[in-house]
């Protein structure tokens, strides 16, 4: 225990130093040092707390933030709110909030096994699975296999408070993985991107879809009946006739869907939707995402999109119209292909940019020529600019929508100064 206490103290010191010296937000380095001193530190720090894990390809950070807000009605909540979603980040988050009885941890989809074993969560919320950075991550079908193995092992769990899985029944890969778990609450939060789930993950047959419903003609896998869903644009439906109006500051249908998952997960901790909903409404931006930044008369809104499914959701958030008949706002797209972004830019062709026709479109980032060729093929007129600053200079005062992938987004945030 002394070792764990020492390790915990080191985590906090290292994180504080990292922030003070401007090296980072401290969410990774602290955990790394702590785990070096006490490899079981995450297990030790999680003990005695009520933990929720959030995983999936897209929407993890936002859903983690929304669920953290909801559980805030019960007292302080520990969370890796900066998106440091591997065990080092979880360790730092827990070490920094020694008094929080609850914790909400965003988990990289490849680390679900480890973090599940170490934290014995009350709830695991599973959002979606789609192609992402295929040059360094495993193919999505293989990832679903892994999840299924991990979740099936929950059947061997003993003791009180068995882990409850909250899973998206609109995503066949998630459904297949989650259906191995003993306790599942199904939520229907939609699946705009379906290109990775045409084939039954269980038997390989071609899935049949009809509206939101889907079923495998070759085996028994089919869409389970959800107990939570998005009833309309601003109402979440839940069990026992719950109809909870939810108004978010965050844009887009996907964030209303994330709110459904957050409310369903919070309910497992005894939080009533009516108490949680006002907390969700307070969330305005997440690590700079969705934030509007004012600069030189431009109102710049930052949207992050890391993979094809994410781009479809981002397009849904772009303002289509400006007031008083003015043209719709210009849109800046920025693409990098550094290691954390994925080195292969082929996925640009999985996104249909036609929806941006009518906007003035500017492109930048390390891989702006890839984007230029893509948009030319897509018959979307565009202008190439070398830097974000050039883009700002090129557009008139007023709104500017920015959609960028991971490091491109970070570069722009750095240029704007830590926006949030």
């Amino acid at each position: 225990m002394v070792r764990a206490q020492l390790a915990t103290a080191l985590v906090r010191t290292a994180a504080r130093l990292s922030r003070m010296t401007g090296r980072g937000d401290g969410s990774v380095i602290g955990g790394r040092i702590g785990l070096a001193v006490e490899p079981r530190l995450l297990t030790v720090l999680a003990r005695g707390r009520q933990v929720a894990l959030v995983s999936g390809t897209n929407g993890k950070t936002t859903t983690t933030r929304l669920l953290t807000a909801a559980l805030g009605t019960l007292g302080p909540v520990a969370s890796n709110s900066y998106g440091a979603n591997m065990p080092t980040g979880h360790t730092t988050a827990l070490a920094q909030s020694p008094n929080a009885r609850h914790a909400v941890l965003e988990v990289d989809e490849h680390y679900l096994r480890t973090v599940l074993a170490e934290t014995r969560p009350r709830v695991v919320a599973l959002l979606n699975l789609s192609r992402d950075q295929l040059d360094r991550a495993m193919e999505v079908g293989m990832l679903a296999d892994r999840w299924r193995e991990v979740l099936g092992a929950l059947r061997d769990q003993t003791g009180p408070d068995p882990t409850q899985v909250v899973a998206n029944c609109d995503d066949p890969l998630v459904t297949w993985a989650a259906s191995a778990a003993p306790n599942v609450t199904w939520v229907a939060v939609g699946q705009r991107w379906q290109e990775d789930s045409w084939v039954c993950p269980q038997c390989g047959a071609h899935l049949k879809r009809e509206g939101v419903d889907w079923a495998c003609p070759g085996c028994d896998l089919r869409r389970p009946q959800p107990s939570w869903w998005l009833a309309d644009d601003d109402t979440v439906a839940g069990p026992d006739g719950i109809r909870q109006p939810v108004t978010l500051q965050l844009p887009g249908r996907i964030n209303r869907a994330n709110a459904v998952t957050a409310l369903a997960a919070a309910a497992q901790f005894g939080v009533r939707p009516a108490d949680a909903a006002p907390r969700l409404a307070e969330v305005a931006s997440i690590a700079g995402r969705y934030a509007t930044v004012e600069r030189d008369g431009r109102s710049i809104r930052l949207l992050l999109a890391k993979n094809p499914a994410g781009w479809l959701e981002a397009f849904d958030m772009v303002d289509r119209v400006s007031p008083a008949g003015a043209p719709p706002p210009p849109v800046l797209l920025s693409i990098n292909a550094r290691v954390v972004d994925g080195l292969d830019t082929s996925w640009l062709y999985d996104v249909d940019y036609a929806t941006l026709r009518g906007h003035r479109v500017l492109v930048t980032g390390d891989r702006r020529y890839d984007l230029a060729v893509r948009l030319e093929v897509n018959e979307v007129p565009f202008e190439v600019v070398d830097t974000f600053t050039d883009a700002l200079a090129a557009v008139p005062p007023g709104r500017l929508e920015v959609i960028a992938n991971y490091t491109a987004f970070q570069d722009i945030r750095a240029e704007l100064g830590r926006a949030n």
Binding site: D135, E139, V140, V199, T345, S346, Y349, D350, V377, N378
Partner: protein
């Protein structure tokens, strides 16, 4: 909707591009190659019909160009079985159609490939066999194209665990300068009007001349007969990618 193979034949006034099983084989931006071919044909005043053929549909025999894309293991196996039963692609190639097969696609149109220790029979359009390499080949590839094809340097991104072994009836598409390709020495394969490659990017976004070669085959004209079109952006992309990986 698929075109009824019984009521169409090659030689109509428009170019038919058949995209084989996009629901199974479209993991690496493969629709890009379809759109690029269509656009480059249209820029030359040629009408184009693009025909996506889903896994449960019949492959028409009357296409001019067939595209076979990349996929994960399970879909790749399913596609191979279905393609063999259907036989449409093989019939079209016998009739002179052009084929561009990418990544899982090149393995699919060989004699056989391996998935999870099983040998799976392919469509046998190219004299090659695939097995698994010791490690995954991931990264940029640059190759010197077979001089008989008259193309500039090949550039693209590869990401595959398989290795291809060519028989005497298949020619390597390129000699590898950077990257791995089939086996570290050569990349891709071609014979007649059939091309296989491991390259994503998608391949034709970075290699407009390769796109034109496939078009010229389908149109039955020499490559040089295609009027040039504005390639400002593809050329900038090529230059940027080649500069990023070629030793100075």
């Amino acid at each position: 909707m698929p075109t009824d193979p019984a009521t169409t034949d090659r030689g109509d006034s428009h170019l038919r591009i058949v995209w084989v099983y996009p629901d199974l084989l479209s993991t690496y931006g493969d629709r890009g190659n379809l759109h690029i071919l269509a656009r480059r044909a249209q820029a030359r005043g040629i009408d184009v019909e693009t025909i996506p053929i889903a896994y449960d549909e019949t492959i028409p025999r009357s296409g001019d160009i067939y595209l076979v894309g990349g996929g994960e293991d399970r879909p790749q196996t399913l596609a191979a079985q279905r393609m063999r039963t259907d036989g449409g692609l093989q019939a079209a190639v016998t009739g002179g159609a052009a084929v561009l097969a990418v990544c899982a696609g090149i393995q699919l149109i060989g004699e056989y490939f391996h998935i999870e220790g099983n040998r799976i029979a392919g469509a046998e359009l190219l004299d090659l066999r695939s097995d698994r390499g010791e490690s995954r080949a991931v990264g940029e590839l640059v190759g010197e194209v077979d001089p008989r094809l008259g193309l500039p340097l090949l550039t693209g991104f590869e990401n595959h665990g398989g290795r291809c072994h060519l028989g005497p009836a298949a020619n390597p598409l390129a000699k590898v300068l950077v990257g791995t390709g089939n086996d570290g020495a050569t990349e891709g394969a071609w014979a007649g009007h059939v091309i296989g490659t491991y390259l994503h990017g998608p391949a034709l976004s970075r290699n407009p001349a390769l796109a034109d070669l496939v078009l010229s085959w389908a149109l039955g004209v020499p490559l040089t007969a295609l009027p040039p079109i504005d390639d400002t952006w593809p050329e900038k992309l090529r230059a940027e990618r080649l500069a990023a990986v070629l030793p100075r």
